[in-house]
Symmetry: C2
Subunit: 452 residues, 2 copies
């Protein structure tokens, strides 16, 4: 093919020195440094001999000692309660209360698990009945966090996709929700509504009004709300503010605030900490029917306890160093530097995209990803059709082959027919982001020229 | 009631100073000290600044560095492959090959999970079809590891209990297996056979011949073998030797060795390490039908990655310090001391039981527990009947109330009708075990006197 002169076939010699993987939301893989306080406390918990070490700050030692007191036998090697160490659940509930400006939170409704994904799997298992002749339906956005689709398929649920409106910055459209729900009621039994806010992959941040709309919709339609809020602390758009579903719900009048069932997820994998490998996440359950809550407790208690390192990460996330603590200056400097890095990265991404033909992106407000739209020339679409592949998938494969840059194609997250995207992780060191953008720019320019 | 003069009603004032919890298999809770090498490597992995520290032995630093090289971005905070870090799976497969005297093991068939229980749940999910009109059946021993029952109930499987023969040291009886299987075929579709060797709660260790019998039975009856071998390194009986199902299977003639499907489980929670809170376990899959193996890979990959601390613990378990390494002397001293402690504990347990009326115990060979039989006087049985409780449950509740010693009643593990047991954890410090035995002795003597 003439237009494949420069776009080499897959599998040919690569001409880049190093692979650059921005395909998943993993800050440390992207070169972001772990928070010193977090790692020092963990090291001291693993190896209490370090508590005698002069090099560790006093607050690190105090925190490690107080955490070890909560572990059976004073060891992080003991099993804990299957929903997590009581003191840590308490600490998380206080964090939630502070976050929501005083809305009460009870440790009894918090379940710590081996990552928020595990918590999500358990809540979905709770809601989905495979025995029923009429399948359980769950509404999920398009595009969506990809694992949710895999989990629903495994559990045998009917997937009810609702489209986010890209043109309006990936917002939810109430008419769309009603439309897909009415249609779905003919073939399945819709019981739950999943939303990811801030959005993966979209980078969208829901407004307070939008959240209210969703809650009212859930109330009217008797849907269980699954609010995936793992990116709640990654908010960087101008004037952007995160509202939790719990807080908005609590302010909505008691016929709604005391009835709509809600599961809200959070994680130590995201935010400034980015400790994905520790595996610590939690779900808070609100307004659950007592019978369902009882079944939830059974499901959680059948699981083994969450890893203690992940639990400790959640404790440190929920109760970080405060002004005056010896670790505070370094801690706040590190957190600020990560925030600055992400802000700079998203700025640079928008600059570069603005220069490139055939690529456009909604304003970036929050989360770990950008999800620009690629406007492929008809020749590129034909080229992909011939290969029976999605054009964005083929684009990503060639991008990887040619430049060593690994990003994900929009088709893995769902997208409107005839629209195409890539998903790019923004939580990397600035020099890595610059390198990635240069690779993308070179490849994209050549690609568009070849196919125009 | 007159015979309740001394056995006080539940809820009364307790007259012990400290709770003594021997209810679960958790060495650190029982006062066993963690292995220094394990904790030092983990501290250095979590806090690489320690790699500059002169106080850590050279092999600790080398191991931490080589593990960090396998982590994306050099951080234990990055996600890993969902089946575990490739190098660690390789290390585990070499450990298995050494354990089995050269029988090959491939990292491709090893799946590291957040504890062996998580691996067990996934394999059971793989085998159990909830859609079928005829329920999937799984054979499990009586008594059994209690979680297996909960998992099977959650997955909607039919539980097919087979009784172990206590009088012959908790051995498996082939006739019993055939009998229950034939009966079960009338009401469900038996597909799998679960066995725990060394046994929890029995402390039984299967002979090579018994394992061969089970494998032949599984071959004839086309059952998938689930070999829960998490206690494989806890063997302390005289002349006792652990044989893995994989090794025995491999030596059984190709019509069997290449056909019987086997899942073998192991864990960093047990053995000398006892790191339950890290959550590291694995399953090795053998002879799986390619279609089933494909589905297994899908199930494992839908899960999030196992915690990195648990993975590292498995690496250190599979490849511990060797003679000549700087950490070896301390390491082998610590391991030896734990083994001696358990040996002494089991010796003392048998001495004390021999003196006590109404209690008898099979010879102890392996595992983390003793499961003595309690021969209750008829009055005690009546007393429990009146309270609509199992006598051993009531015994344990009162033991706890009166003495602060927490052990588990046999009824939680299943037992023959009219037989009663308690389960006692043996992996504790010697002074703790002595304390526990004194409490048990005092309570038991009074109990038997009261009810005789
Ligand atoms: C939207 C969303 N939810 C949940 C998770 C799972 O996070 P974890 O299981 O590490 O807490 C992710 C991870 O990427 C995510 O993007
Ligand atoms: C027989 C048996 N299998 C599996 C497990 C689970 O161990 P883990 O999930 O900690 O690896 C246990 C724990 O007590 C056990 O006794």
């Amino acid at each position: 093919m003439s237009f494949l002169k420069e776009i080499r076939p897959l599998g040919e010699r690569r001409n880049y020195s190093e692979l650059l993987d921005l395909s998943s939301g993993d800050p440390h893989r992207g070169g972001i440094k772990p928070i010193t306080f977090v790692r020092q406390v963990l090291a001291a918990c693993f190896c209490p001999a370090l508590l005698e070490d002069d090099s560790l700050p006093l607050d690190v030692k105090q925190r490690a000692k107080s955490l070890l007191r909560e572990c059976d036998g004073g060891s992080v090697g003991s099993y804990t309660e299957s929903s997590g160490i009581a003191k840590i659940k308490h600490c998380v509930s206080q964090f939630i209360t502070r976050r929501d400006g005083g809305v009460p939170s009870s440790p009894d409704n918090i379940f710590i698990m081996s990552g928020s994904k595990t918590a999500l799997m358990i809540i979905l298992k709770l809601l989905i009945r495979s025995e029923d002749s009429c399948r359980t339906g769950v509404l999920i956005p398009v595009p969506t966090y990809a694992s949710i689709t895999m989990i629903l398929e495994e559990e045998g649920a009917a997937i009810i996709p609702y489209h986010l409106c890209e043109e309006q910055g990936w917002t939810l459209q109430l008419e769309e929700l009603h439309r897909v729900l009415q249609a779905a009621r003919k073939t399945c039994n819709p019981v739950a509504f999943y939303i990811c806010n801030p959005g993966n992959p979209t980078g969208h941040l829901q407004s307070r009004e939008s959240i209210e709309e969703v809650i009212r919709f859930a109330a009217e339609e008797r849907l269980f709300l699954l609010a995936d809020e793992v990116y709640q602390s990654c908010v960087y758009g101008d004037n952007a503010e995160f509202y939790s579903y719990k807080k908005v719900l609590s302010e909505m009048g008691s016929n709604i605030s005391s009835t709509v069932e809600l599961a809200s997820f959070n994680s130590a994998s995201k935010g400034f900490m980015g400790e994905c490998g520790f595996r610590g996440g939690y779900v808070e359950l609100v307004n659950l029917d007592p019978a369902v809550m009882k079944y939830a407790r059974t499901l959680f208690s059948t699981r083994s306890c969450p890893p203690v390192a992940g639990q400790i990460a959640l404790d440190l996330m929920a109760d970080p160093p405060k002004p005056g603590d010896p670790s505070f200056p370094t801690f706040s400097e590190e957190v600020q530097s990560i925030k600055n890095t992400i802000r700079k990265n998203t700025g640079r991404i928008q600059e570069v995209f603005a220069e490139l033909p055939g690529i456009s992106c909604q304003p970036l407000k929050a989360g770990f990803f950008v999800f620009p739209s690629l406007h492929f020339p008809p020749k590129a679409i034909k080229w992909a059709e011939k290969r029976q592949m999605e054009p964005d998938m083929l684009y990503c494969l060639h991008l990887l082959e040619e430049t060593g840059l690994h990003v994900k194609p929009g088709c893995e997250y769902g997208q409107r027919k005839d629209s195409h995207h890539i998903r790019l992780f923004v939580g990397t060191q600035e020099n890595i982001m610059e390198d990635a953008l240069q690779r993308l720019k070179t490849f994209h320019t050549r690609f568009m020229k070849e196919f125009s």
